[in-house]
C-alpha cells in the first residue's frame, strides 16, 4: 500500500481526539471509534498518530484495529453496501444476493469499486430479520431483496450521482 501523507489538520483532529480521552491507553477502542467516525477509515498512518497520542506501541493499535471487524483500514465507497449474512437472511437467500452484487460491481467483499462509489461488506443480523434478506446502502435499508433487484438498486445510486442530486448516505 502506498504511503499516505496525512494533512496537518487531519493529524490535529486525531491528536485532539486522543486528548479528549486524556491520552489514556485504556480508551484506545473509544478513540478508534471516534477517529473512524471522523475520517471514515483507519490506515496505518493514522494508527501511528494514535499510538503516539496514547503513548503506546503501533503494534498494539494495529492489533486492536485488525481484531475488531468494525474497524477498517481501507476507505469505504461513497455508498457502502452492506449485505446481512445473519442466519435468518442466509436461509432466505442472502448468499445469492451477495454474489449478484459481487458480479454486478466486479469487486469482492471488503473492496471498493475503482471509481470509489460502492464498496461491499457483510454484516451479521441488523435486527430486521422479518425483512430478510436485508441489504443496507448507507443508512437506507432494503428488505426482501431478490437477486433480480440488485441491478435496480445499484442503478438508483448511479443515476442519483449523474444528476448531481446525491442522497446523503
Amino acid at each position: 500500500m502506498p504511503k499516505i501523507k496525512l494533512a496537518e489538520n487531519t493529524i490535529q483532529i486525531i491528536k485532539d481526539i486522543c486528548a479528549e480521552f486524556d491520552n489514556n491507553e485504556g480508551e484506545l477502542i473509544n478513540v478508534l471509534h471516534k477517529v473512524q467516525d471522523k475520517l471514515g477509515y483507519l490506515p496505518a498512518e493514522v494508527q501511528e498518530v494514535i499510538a503516539k497520542g496514547l503513548n503506546t506501541s503501533v503494534a498494539k493499535v494495529y492489533g486492536v484495529v485488525t481484531f475488531y471487524s468494525y474497524f477498517t483500514m481501507i476507505p469505504r465507497g461513497e455508498f457502502p453496501i452492506s449485505i446481512c449474512m445473519g442466519t435468518a437472511c442466509y436461509v432466505r437467500g442472502a448468499e445469492q444476493v451477495l454474489s449478484e452484487f459481487k458480479r454486478q460491481l466486479k469487486v469482492d467483499v471488503g473492496e471498493s469499486t475503482p471509481d470509489g462509489m460502492f464498496s461491499i461488506n457483510c454484516l451479521r443480523c441488523v435486527g430486521a430479520c422479518g425483512l430478510a434478506p436485508v441489504v443496507n446502502v448507507g443508512d437506507k435499508v432494503y428488505g426482501r431483496v431478490a437477486p433480480t433487484q440488485v441491478k435496480e438498486i445499484i442503478a438508483e445510486y448511479r443515476k442519483g450521482c449523474d444528476s448531481d442530486n446525491v442522497k446523503s448516505a
Partner: protein, 597 residues
C-alpha cells in the same frame, strides 16, 4: 398517558423503522394537524411489538386496535375513518390465515395467545424515550422497594429463590452469581450488562434496549445495591445505533429524576451507568473477552478461574449479566420469587425470549414460558412453515447450538432438554428451516462464522475449525469421502475438548448435530454426489422440460446472466456453461417447467 383522547403507537423497532415507520409518523402528524387534533391525539414511537413479519405495526389506544402492514399511504384513511369517526379500517386489521377471522385486538391473535411477556412487558406499550411512562407501569418501584425495605442480602435471596438463570446462554443461577460477587471483599466493584448480542440472526437484547431501556437500568442499580457496586457498565455493539441512543436518553432521564447518581431515593446508595462500545467481535460476548475489550485490549478470553465475580474489570469483582436477565429483575422484586418460580419447568423458571426467524410465517420476537414445546412455538405462534413447505429443522443456540429435527418438536423448551437433544438454549436465536435448506451448507455457514470470529488464541479453535470448514466445503462440492465424515466427527471432539473458551468448546456443535440428525444428507453428497435440497451449487443443474415449457419468456427475462435462450411460445433452453445456478428461473417459472437435479 393522560389528557389525550387517543394514542397512536407506532413500532419504532429497527425492523419497522427499516420499512417506512418514520414516514408513517410524519404522515400522522401531518393529518392530525390538518384536522386540528393535536390536543386530542398523541402519536409516538414505541418498542418492537414482536410481530415483525407484518410490520410496520400500529396500535391505537384506548380502542386497542392492532393494524398490520401499514404503509404511509394508509394514514389518511386511518385518521379520517378511525380517529375522526371511530370506524376501524378493516382492511388493515390482522386476518388469521387459517380461520380467516379478522382480529382487531392483539391479545386475540394466535401469535400472542401462548406468550407470557415478562422481559418484554413494556415493549410496544410505552414510549421508551419517556421515563414517566415507564414509571406509570410500576417502573423504579422495585428499586425503591429494595432500598427502603430489603437489605442487599434479602434482595439477593429473592432473586435466588425465584430460580432465575442467566439468559445469555450459560444458564447460571443469577442470584447465586450476585451472592458470590457480594461476598468478595473489595473497595470497588462493577456491574456489567452484556449487550453484545453476537448470535447472527438474533435481536432479543436489542429489542429490549430499544423498547424498554429503563428496565435494564433499574435492574443494574438493584444489582449494584446487592453486590455493593457504585458503577455499572453496558457493553453494547456499535452496530446498534438506535439502542445506544435510547439507552443514553434513558440514563440521562434517570439521572434527572434522581434514580441514578448519589443518594438514590434518599438512601445511602450511589450508582452511575456508563456505556462501552463493542466493535464487532462475536467472541467479545464471552465475559472475560468482554472485560478485556472494555479495558481497551483485543477481546481475547482468559482462563477461568478467576471468575469475573472475583477478578473482572480492572481486576475488581465484576458481575456480568445479560440484558434479558436484567429485564426480568424488577418484575421478580415486585411480584415476588414465588410468583416467578411458578412459571416454567422444574429447573428452568420463568420465560425465554426468542427471535423467531427463517422459513416461518410469523417472523418476530416472542416470549414464552419455559416448557413450551417447539411445536407450539413453530406452529401455533409462528404460524407454520412459509409457502406450505415441509418443516425440516430448527436451529437454536446460534453458532454454538445445533439443528433439531421433527422428532424433537414435542420437546418442552428448557436448558436441560435442549442440551440433551444436542443443541442448547443459547441467547434466543431460533431459525426454522424447510426442505430447501441443505444441512451440510448450514453447518458450513456456521463454521465460516466461527472461523472468522475465533480470536486465534488456541490452536484447536483457530486451525481445527478451519480444517472442519475445508472438509465441509469439499463435501458441498461433491468431492467428499466417507472417511471425511469420520474425520469431521473426530476433529470436532478434539476441538471441543481442547479449546479454552465457550466459542471453541461449542463451535463444532452445528457439525455434530447435523451429522447426528441428517447423516443421510451427508451420505447423499458423498456417495451419490447429490444435494437433496438442491442448494449446493456445484451439485445442481437447472434444466427446462421441453414438453412442459410453453415459452412464456419469463425466465429468459429474469436470468441475470442471459443463460436462457428461446423464441416466444417455443420451449426455452439453458446454456449450462453460462448458468451461475442462481435459481431465479426456477423460482419464476409458473408452470413447473424447470427442474433441479
Amino acid at each position: 398517558m393522560t389528557d389525550y383522547r387517543m394514542h397512536i403507537l407506532i413500532c419504532g423497532g429497527t425492523g419497522c423503522k427499516a420499512s417506512e415507520s418514520n414516514e408513517i409518523k410524519e404522515k400522522f402528524n401531518h393529518f392530525i394537524s390538518e384536522f386540528d387534533l393535536e390536543d386530542e391525539v398523541q402519536v409516538l414511537f414505541t418498542g418492537c411489538f414482536g410481530f415483525c413479519e407484518k410490520g410496520p405495526i400500529i396500535k391505537v389506544l384506548p380502542d386497542n386496535t392492532f393494524y398490520v402492514s401499514v404503509a404511509a399511504k394508509d394514514i389518511e384513511e386511518i385518521v379520517k375513518e378511525h380517529i375522526l369517526k371511530g370506524r376501524p379500517v378493516k382492511r388493515l386489521l390482522y386476518k388469521e390465515p387459517v380461520s380467516g377471522e379478522v382480529i382487531s385486538e392483539s391479545q386475540d391473535m394466535d401469535f400472542y395467545k401462548k406468550q407470557i411477556r415478562i422481559a418484554l412487558r413494556n415493549c410496544g406499550f410505552i414510549n421508551p424515550e419517556n421515563i414517566e411512562e415507564y414509571i406509570s407501569r410500576d417502573g423504579y418501584m422495585a428499586l425503591g422497594k429494595c432500598l427502603s425495605e430489603y437489605t442487599p442480602e434479602e434482595t439477593t435471596n429473592i432473586i435466588k429463590d425465584s430460580g432465575l438463570r442467566g439468559r445469555g446462554g450459560g444458564g447460571f443461577p443469577t442470584g447465586l452469581k450476585w451472592e458470590i460477587t457480594r461476598k468478595v471483599e473489595s473497595d470497588q466493584k462493577y456491574v456489567v450488562c452484556n449487550a453484545d448480542e453476537g448470535d447472527p440472526g438474533a435481536f432479543m437484547d436489542r429489542s429490549i434496549l430499544e423498547g424498554d431501556p429503563h428496565s435494564v437500568i433499574e435492574a443494574m442499580a438493584i444489582c449494584g445495591y446487592c453486590i455493593g457496586a457504585d458503577t455499572g457498565l453496558v457493553y453494547i455493539r456499535a452496530e446498534y445505533p438506535l439502542a445506544i441512543e435510547r439507552l443514553k436518553t434513558a440514563i440521562k432521564q434517570a439521572e434527572e429524576y434522581g434514580l441514578l447518581g448519589d443518594k438514590i431515593l434518599g438512601a445511602d446508595f450511589n450508582f452511575k451507568i456508563e456505556l462501552r462500545y463493542g466493535a464487532g467481535a462475536f467472541v467479545c460476548g464471552e465475559e472475560t473477552a468482554l472485560i478485556h475489550s472494555m479495558e481497551g485490549l483485543r477481546g481475547e478470553p482468559t482462563v477461568k478461574p478467576p471468575f469475573p465475580s472475583v477478578s473482572g474489570y480492572m481486576e475488581k469483582p465484576t458481575n456480568v449479566n445479560n440484558v434479558e436477565t436484567f429485564a426480568n429483575i424488577p418484575v421478580i422484586i415486585n411480584k415476588g420469587a414465588a410468583w416467578f418460580s411458578k412459571i416454567g419447568t422444574d429447573k428452568s423458571k420463568g420465560t425465554k425470549v426468542f427471535a423467531l426467524a427463517g422459513k416461518i410465517n410469523n417472523v418476530g420476537l416472542i416470549e414464552v414460558p419455559m416448557g413450551t414445546t417447539l411445536r407450539e412455538v413453530i406452529y401455533d405462534i409462528g404460524g407454520g412453515i412459509k409457502d406450505g413447505k415441509e418443516f425440516k429443522a430448527v436451529q437454536t443456540g446460534g453458532p454454538s447450538g445445533g439443528c433439531l429435527t421433527k422428532d424433537f418438536l414435542d420437546t418442552p423448551i428448557d436448558y436441560e432438554n435442549l442440551l440433551s437433544a444436542g443443541s442448547m438454549m443459547g441467547s434466543g436465536g431460533m431459525i426454522v428451516m424447510d426442505e430447501d435448506d441443505c444441512m451440510v451448507s448450514i453447518a458450513k455457514f456456521y463454521l465460516e462464522f466461527t472461523l472468522e470470529e475465533s480470536c486465534g488464541k488456541c490452536n484447536p479453535c483457530r486451525i481445527g475449525n478451519k480444517r472442519l470448514f475445508e472438509i465441509l466445503d469439499k463435501v458441498t462440492e461433491g468431492k467428499g469421502t466417507l472417511e471425511d465424515i469420520d474425520k469431521l466427527k473426530v476433529l470436532s471432539d478434539v476441538i471441543k475438548d481442547t479449546s479454552l473458551c465457550g466459542l471453541g468448546q461449542s463451535s463444532p456443535n452445528p457439525v455434530l448435530s447435523t451429522i447426528a440428525n441428517f447423516e443421510d444428507e451427508y451420505l447423499s453428497h458423498v456417495e451419490e454426489g447429490k444435494c437433496p435440497a438442491g442448494q449446493c451449487k456445484s451439485l445442481v443443474r437447472y434444466d427446462i422440460l421441453e414438453d412442459v415449457c410453453n415459452g412464456c419468456t419469463l425466465c429468459f427475462r429474469n436470468c441475470p446472466v442471459g443463460a436462457i435462450t428461446g423464441e416466444r411460445r417455443t420451449p426455452h433452453f439453458i446454456d449450462q456453461s453460462l448458468c451461475i445456478k442462481c435459481g431465479v428461473c426456477y423460482d419464476k417459472c409458473k408452470f413447473n417447467a424447470i427442474t433441479v437435479n
